[in-house]
Amino acid sequence: MRTNLFFRRHCQRTAKFLTVFAALFMPLAAYAALGGDEADLPADAAIAKIELRPVDASQARFRVHELRDGIDGPRVRQFAGRNGKIFGVAWDGPVKPDLRQTLGPYYERYLATVRGAGSKARGLRQVRTDDFELKLSGHMRHFAGAAWVPSLAPNGVALGDVR
């Protein structure tokens, strides 16, 4: 269970809406990355200005957790299957989230693909590798994207469900 310096709060990882404001801002440093464990999601959302709310807690195939930086800030959704693994992530907002945090070990793979794409592909928007797919879009003031690891996903779920 994670706590921050100024508040201690015990929260259940269920369909409960949690909003906690701390005296000091702490960076979005404590959420599970793509491929990581659902259990690593902050048990208490004691991070300033972040709302943590399981959006589709009753979903049969997977659970969606959402972190949002304020009402109009970027949001990051994490898709966890029954195996307790984050198989997909999706983001949307006026700026991009920390993609190294969001994509975990797959971030370097994303960078390598962009760098190897050549100068005609300015702004590569889709990556498809063996067990990692990513797509993104946007323009200044609005960026959105999604990524998933097919081998971690429940049967019958597609990348199109991760958004």
């Binding site: 991009k96 100068s119 300015r122 702004g123 323009h139 609005h142 960026f143």
Partner: protein, 414 residues
């Protein structure tokens, strides 16, 4: 500059202002922005500059990138420089120049932008696959006969400046060089007045603005007046939007084309709306709705800074070696309809061709109207190919035009 207005001067001013249909709000203009209080009737300004699509600056080989030349001066001086191959981008806001392309005299002469505590303002400007990092400096911007004074610009990859903050690095690939960016700079002329708007004025951290003390940078709020502004919004006249005209190209592409960028909408004889279809966009993201085939995509947008039609359709194979594009074996016609928030619709059919076959036959092709690629999020990105064979007006938010207040997009098929 403040001055007492005599009655005579006041009357001339009133007449001058009424002669201009391109009024600006100016309410949030930076304190040192250009002023129209000269008391003179404005004469016709050269409000048009040349655009070109070619294979890019030395060291790059680009396709469907729209370029122009921009002249900047150190504010109030004659230390000036004209830089070519500046990407013209209706999807972003503000002027950003690669430090590597600026003369040492220019680099030394551009004043820094400081916050109230005396620290230097810098920016992590986010683009689709990466970012530009560098300090904010002030420059006079001259485009044709239009001038904007003391404008905040970004100097990308400035030498001897604080390194990129980690959070910024974690938003994608660094694009701080001509090679990585595909241009010597970028001029963002979107529907927006500032590059970030209210989000950066009210959120800290906001991911874009930083204040640096020596080599240490921290996130900061950026009031509207401190952000990078759309240079067009700061012109004394012809400041309510832009008009981009580009010719069509044959189906097998072209090695280059030229077109025009005209400042102002219905402010002079050369930027009248005629029979343009006017489609309003949402005021937060500047987006509208598009239907391609039988699928409707909200969150769609027109963007000269994207070099293809980008949308998610599982039907088309991806190119084998040309990353990021579709390569169907035969050209595929796509029906398209744009719809503004005001309900106005416009046919926008296009063709998805095979750039690998095309470039194999002619590697020098740099303009191709049938270029499309995968994207996958909810909106269709109508990139540069959409602008070929069309005249597109971009009306700046809150600015007055005969077709209503911006933001809106106007389209005429050539």
């Amino acid at each position: 500059m403040r001055r007492k207005l005599s009655f005579h001067t006041l009357m001339v001013l009133v007449l001058a202002l009424s002669a201009c249909s391109g009024g600006g709000s100016g309410g949030d203009a930076p304190a040192s922005g250009s002023s129209s209080q000269s008391g003179n009737t404005p004469t016709s300004t050269t409000n048009q500059i040349a655009l070109m699509v070619d294979s890019g600056p030395a060291g790059t080989t680009t396709i469907n990138e729209l370029y122009t030349s921009v002249t900047i001066c150190a504010p109030g001086t004659s230390i000036c420089q004209t830089i070519d191959h500046i990407l013209v981008d209706t999807g972003s806001t503000g002027l950003r120049l690669m430090a590597s392309e600026l003369d040492s005299a220019m680099l030394a002469a551009l004043p820094s932008s400081f916050d109230s505590g005396g620290d230097v303002l810098a920016e992590c400007a986010q683009f689709v696959d990466g970012y530009t990092w560098g300090p904010i400096r002030f420059a006079d911007i001259k485009l044709g006969g239009e001038n904007a004074s003391n404008v905040a610009i970004q100097v990308v990859g400035a030498p001897n400046f604080a390194g990129t903050p980690l959070i910024c690095q974690n938003t994608g690939v660094a694009e701080n060089t001509v090679q990585s960016f595909g241009a010597k700079g970028i001029i963002g002329i979107s529907v927006f007045t500032q590059d970030c708007g209210q989000y950066c004025a009210t959120h800290n951290p906001n991911g874009m603005y930083y204040t640096c003390h020596g080599s240490v940078c921290s996130a900061t709020l950026a009031p509207l007046a401190k952000q990078l502004w759309n240079p067009v919004a700061l012109f004394p006249t012809d400041n309510n939007g832009t008009m981009i005209s580009l010719p069509s190209v044959p189906s097998n592409g072209a090695t280059s084309v030229t077109g025009t960028l005209t400042f102002g909408i219905a402010t002079q004889t050369n930027n009248q709306l005629a029979n343009a279809a006017v489609l309003t966009v949402d005021p937060i993201y500047g987006e509208l709705t598009a239907t391609v085939g039988s699928t409707t995509y909200t969150g769609s947008f027109l963007d000269t800074g994207s070099n293809a039609y980008f949308y998610d359709i599982g039907l088309f194979p991806h190119c084998q070696y040309l990353a990021g594009f579709y390569c169907p074996s035969n050209a595929q016609g796509q029906s398209g309809i744009l719809q503004g928030r005001n309900g106005q619709t416009l046919a926008a059919d296009f063709i998805v061709g095979n750039p690998e076959l095309l470039l194999a036959a002619n590697p020098n092709i740099a303009v191709y109207s049938q270029l499309a690629g995968p994207s996958g999020m909810s909106g269709v990105d109508f990139g540069l190919p959409f602008f070929l064979g069309r005249t597109v007006f971009t009306a700046i938010e809150n600015r007055t035009t005969p077709a209503g207040t911006g933001p809106w997009l106007g389209i005429i098929a050539n």
